[in-house]
Symmetry: C2
Subunit: 392 residues, 2 copies
């Protein structure tokens, strides 16, 4: 388990997905090496049969932390047992699907470097960070129905754009199609209307972690987003990786988040380190173009969930929230082409000699990540991939 898709998928990881194999029936699977364990089949006759025979992860998500821990232990046993491990299927033979039904989708904006870069590019006459940025994790709701699994083609969206010198908006395919390299979190055990989820309860509510590409049409976004935020510039597609890495697999990846100045209000104070040391890689047509470091994110997922619920908003199994674009200090660590090309002013040159500001038809983006596992092992997230198809 050291090469290709098998590296990082050892017993330390055991991420969950939904696959089909040989027919249309969707089944819950767990990635192990170069295989998938059909856990619905392995669970037959036991206490977790009903949860794991579902075609989506939502019943397991709803079951809560104690069940998640027990199921994980059972899967480890099944992989060691010759009878149940007969339900391993080669990963190369399966089709992967969206792993859960998505409830609400919230996108945050929690990388200080990214927010600073975007502020400089979009609002050059103002302070880069808005006055609220260091007091709360800024977020907004995205379109749940547009969340698709890795590999789904992304059709170039059409819409309105208007440059500062244009007398009126024009309509057509986006000419500034971009990526946003993000990390996603899925809520398992929900919280009812009127309740809050304190920072310290994060791991009781969040089930797992995956990669997310929040495709963005920067020209549509720039024209529409004042005053109510991004809408059509984002809602055409959001891709996620098919394997949900359970929090249990990420204990060795936990790191202290950066120091915050000013100190946040009490409901946002850290309680346990939920910074996560994920090493992310972004490839454009196979070329590595960026390596954004997740460990430096200003706001952690625990703070994001606490903020999202401080007003009593409910959460449900399958609710998704995402980190916001992950950007480090240098161009080689930026999480969007907007930043890598500095608003289009500084094209990237790829190793094949071509240049890019934004995405061209046919371009493929692949985002992958790994994290420290126990005893020097690595935890792999697999990848979220998508290829741009021409506007229709």
């Amino acid at each position: 388990m050291t090469t290709g898709t098998t590296a990082g998928f050892g017993l330390e990881n055991l991420p969950y997905g939904v696959f089909s194999h040989g027919d249309d029936r969707r089944r819950i699977g767990v990635a192990y090496g170069d295989a998938v364990l059909d856990v619905g089949a392995a669970a037959a006759g036991g206490p977790f049969e009903a949860l794991l025979a579902a075609p989506v992860l939502n019943p397991l998500l709803a079951a809560g932390r104690a069940t998640w821990t027990a199921v994980r232990a059972a899967i480890t046993e099944w992989l060691r047992d010759p009878v149940t491990s007969a339900h391993l299927v080669p990963r190369s033979e399966v089709t992967l699907h969206l792993p859960f039904e998505v409830g609400d989708y919230v996108d945050f904006y929690s990388s200080e470097q990214h927010a600073t870069n975007v502020g400089k590019i979009f609002r050059p006459d103002s302070a880069a960070l808005t006055p609220n940025w260091k007091h709360l994790p800024i977020g907004y709701h995205g379109r749940s129905g547009s969340i698709v699994v890795s590999g789904t083609p992304v059709v170039r969206p059409k819409g309105q754009r208007k440059g500062p010198q244009d007398p009126a908006p024009v309509f057509g395919p986006s000419v500034r199609l971009d990526i946003e390299t993000e990390v996603g979190f899925v809520v398992g055990a929900g919280s009812p209307l009127g309740s809050t989820v304190p920072v310290e309860d994060f791991a009781e509510h969040v089930f797992g972690v995956f990669l997310l590409n929040d495709w963005s049409a920067r020209d549509l976004q720039a024209w529409e987003y004042v005053p109510l935020g991004p809408f059509l510039g984002k809602s055409f597609a959001t891709s996620i990786s098919p394997w949900v890495v359970p929090l249990d697999a990420l204990q060795a990846a936990r790191v202290a988040p950066p120091a915050r100045d000013p100190e946040p209000l009490p409901y946002l104070r850290d309680n346990g380190d939920w910074g996560l040391d994920l090493a992310i890689e972004v490839r454009l047509n196979g070329h590595l173009v960026s390596s954004p470091p997740f460990a430096g994110m200003y706001w952690t997922p625990a703070q994001q969930l606490a903020h999202m619920t401080i007003n009593g908003a409910p959460t449900r199994p399958g609710d998704v929230y995402a980190s916001g674009t992950v950007s480090g200090a240098s161009k080689q660590e930026y999480g969007s082409l907007l930043e890598m090309s500095w608003g289009g002013a500084e094209p990237l040159t790829l190793p094949d000699g071509t240049t890019r500001t934004f995405l061209e038809d046919g371009d493929e983006i692949v985002i992958s990540a790994t994290a420290p596992g126990p005893d020097g092992s690595r935890i792999a997230f697999g990848e979220v991939a998508g290829r741009i198809e021409p506007a229709t």
Copy 2:
């Protein structure tokens, strides 16, 4: 059928809801006079049994326009038939529930008067309308999981606020809790990822209409909303009326929308009149405080759906979108307390001698509406009600 809850619920209307009666079982019902027809029971043994025996409207929503028309005709027959009309239950005995599972929720901002008022109050140093306002129906995604049925108590949300003179944000219960008087639309037949819904296809996709109160914490909203839009200032609760009035009942309510200047881009041009002449009333603790006219909305629901999908975003049965706050030309026609009290500067005096800027604990808001029906009849929407409970 001329008084109380029975007026406007004749054969011309027949709105759909979900009720329980005597036990916890949720059933689809149609309001008729002072009764509810248990349409799942009435449909037993017939072609619509599976659709109408569901505990939510979603299967009926997904069935599409031809089925909606056929079911409506069948219900009219069932109400005239002594056997099936035995499934009428007194409306006073039933409990009403959320009528459908909500997919995505989009809130628009399509009243020119409201947008102008808010611009003047929130951004007094800028033009009241942003440059994009007359080119596209501005909208953003809200929180689907916070949509609740009329009658659900609304707990005053807590969060961050910061006045312009405050050195740092403070945390506590909202002190500027407000309403937004809106009209909601529910998508029936969805549209797949990558497709668009032209203006002229509106009635093939949208099933019906209801009332919506987008509760808003103006102090939280003002501090958080730049640059990515409203989030916690809205996501704590959105109330909807329990009866979904089918488009079929609103043919006599259709009116030409106002003239648009400048002319919208071709994909937003009107094709058929989908302005709707709803007469809305807003009551605070029983006192009529506003009568917002819906007929004057700048963007119609047909244009809103066309815009929402022009980038290829998919729609699903149960997706909700709302008009934005409905405001007419005078204070007696404004759809929010923000406008009625002009940002809190001009308190309202109620007939009982008390004054209000924003909502106080214990206040109850009831929004109701009627529309022209065929042959001089009226179509009633019922009401969306909510009472404010103190912060916890």
